[in-house]
């Protein structure tokens, strides 16, 4: 049975003050219950301007530090969205009144799992047991999860038969685009039943049909009014009358107009073959 997502109601925390305060409370309670009991702690970061307006942007949503240990924590809550990582952490070597402070920063989208992960990691950090290896493994884990979420989102769109719109939307990811290799791997893991609807082309179409592309490019040069004119000229005029560079080049390459015809015909045949192959590929995609 699918679990109820009880944190979904805080999705609008950046636009709804009540939700924002609830998130603040949630983090405060979750973290303060696991801080070392015998150490004094206090708020670490201000998110307030000179005019006393409080910036309710979640950056940070909660912060605390233990002066005795010179350890601090800053939690940044970001809106649930696929353009940003779900969970990210780093250590910032900072200071307080000229004294060095080790700060753990966690940037997080609010889910049951990420709250659990945060409290676990904070506990480890305040007991001085957080290692770089642990941080790296979390990066790996959530990078993968982020990729899976994106794939899952794309698959939903494929299911709705709006693939074209979907790919336009994907542009929003910009730097965080889905790796096609991962797409195949994760889509197998996520939803087997729709795999039949996905056709994977490993190379780009441009590479696969590069010969066709080149042939068309060649013909681009040939099939012009200029060429027609040149061609007529080539077949009717003696060599010493040909002044056009293009005609010169054709004769240099092919010797006479007959050879040139044969070569053109062969190019057209190749294009036909590749076009057929391309049509077959497209048909198989559509039929799937």
């Amino acid at each position: 049975m699918k679990r109820i997502d009880k944190y979904l109601k805080y999705e609008n925390f950046l636009t709804n003050k009540k939700s924002y305060l609830s998130c603040e409370k949630l983090w405060k309670e979750s973290i303060e219950s696991i801080l070392p009991k015998n150490k004094h702690h206090e708020e670490w970061i201000i998110n307030q301007y000179i005019n006393e307006t409080i910036d309710m942007d979640g950056n940070p949503i909660y912060s605390v530090w233990i002066p005795e240990l010179k350890y601090a924590l800053r939690i940044i809550q970001i809106e649930r969205n696929l353009n940003a990582q779900i969970f990210n952490i780093w250590i910032n070597d900072t200071e307080y009144e000229n004294e060095p402070v080790k700060e753990l920063v966690i940037s997080v989208q609010l889910y049951r799992e990420t709250i659990k992960e945060t409290t676990k990691i904070v506990k480890t950090f305040f007991s001085s047991k957080l290692t770089q290896e642990k941080i790296d493994s979390l990066h790996k884990k959530y990078e993968k999860k982020w990729e899976q979420e994106k794939v899952s989102y794309v698959i939903k769109y494929i299911k709705k038969d709006v693939g074209i719109i979907m790919f336009k939307r994907l542009k929003n990811y910009e730097l965080n685009q889905i790796d096609p290799k991962n797409f195949k791997e994760y889509s197998i893991n996520i939803e087997d039943d729709i795999l039949g609807n996905i056709y994977f082309i490993n190379d780009s179409l441009e590479n696969r049909f590069s010969k066709l592309h080149n042939s068309l490019n060649n013909l681009n040069n040939v099939l012009t009014v200029k060429c027609q004119w040149d061609f007529e000229k080539m077949s009717n005029y003696p060599k010493n009358k040909r002044t056009d560079d293009y005609a010169k080049e054709i004769f240099r390459q092919y010797g006479n107009s007959h050879n040139y015809f044969i070569s053109l015909l062969s190019k057209v045949n190749k294009i036909e073959e590749e076009t057929e192959e391309f049509k077959e590929l497209m048909k198989s995609i559509i039929q799937k």
């Binding site: 708020e43 670490w44 970061i45 201000i46 998110n47 307030q48 301007y49 000179i50 005019n51 307006t53 910036d55 950056n59 940070p60 800053r74 940044i76 940003a84 990582q85 990210n88 780093w90 910032n92 900072t94 200071e95 307080y96 009144e97 920063v105 940037s107 990066h139 959530y142 990078e143 982020w146 730097l175 965080n176």
Partner: protein
């Protein structure tokens, strides 16, 4: 015109830094002075940090720099930041991806205020 220099002063009253961090990047620009940092100077320092980055490092942090710029505008509109009042640091980070980020930290004094 010669660029304005930000001299490090003894026991400065106003301190902070901008940082750009990443997998293989650690660049920062700091201020340590006896007068509060104005919004104009703050933006100049942020640009100085941008200029230190290679094109590829900048490309992946472009959105984070834009957000920091907007953040400075927002701070300015609200009168600036005053650390002295609360004796707590000010810090804001924007991360365009895992491991990449652009930070702003104010440790002491005032920053992003109108020209005094």
């Amino acid at each position: 015109m010669a660029k304005k220099q930000y001299k490090e002063e003894k026991d400065p009253l106003h301190r902070g830094r901008f940082q750009a961090q990443g997998k293989s990047l650690e660049e920062s620009v700091k201020w340590e002075r006896n007068t509060p940092l104005t919004v104009k100077e703050g933006k100049r320092l942020l640009n100085k940090l941008r200029d230190k980055l290679t094109n590829s490092d900048l490309k992946i942090r472009e959105s984070a720099f834009s957000k920091q710029n907007l953040n400075i505008d927002r701070i300015f509109k609200n009168g600036g930041i005053d650390i002295g009042k609360m004796r707590k640091n000010y810090s804001k980070s924007f991360e365009p991806g895992i491991k990449e980020r652009v930070d702003i930290e104010i440790f002491l004094g005032k920053a992003f205020i109108r020209q005094e």
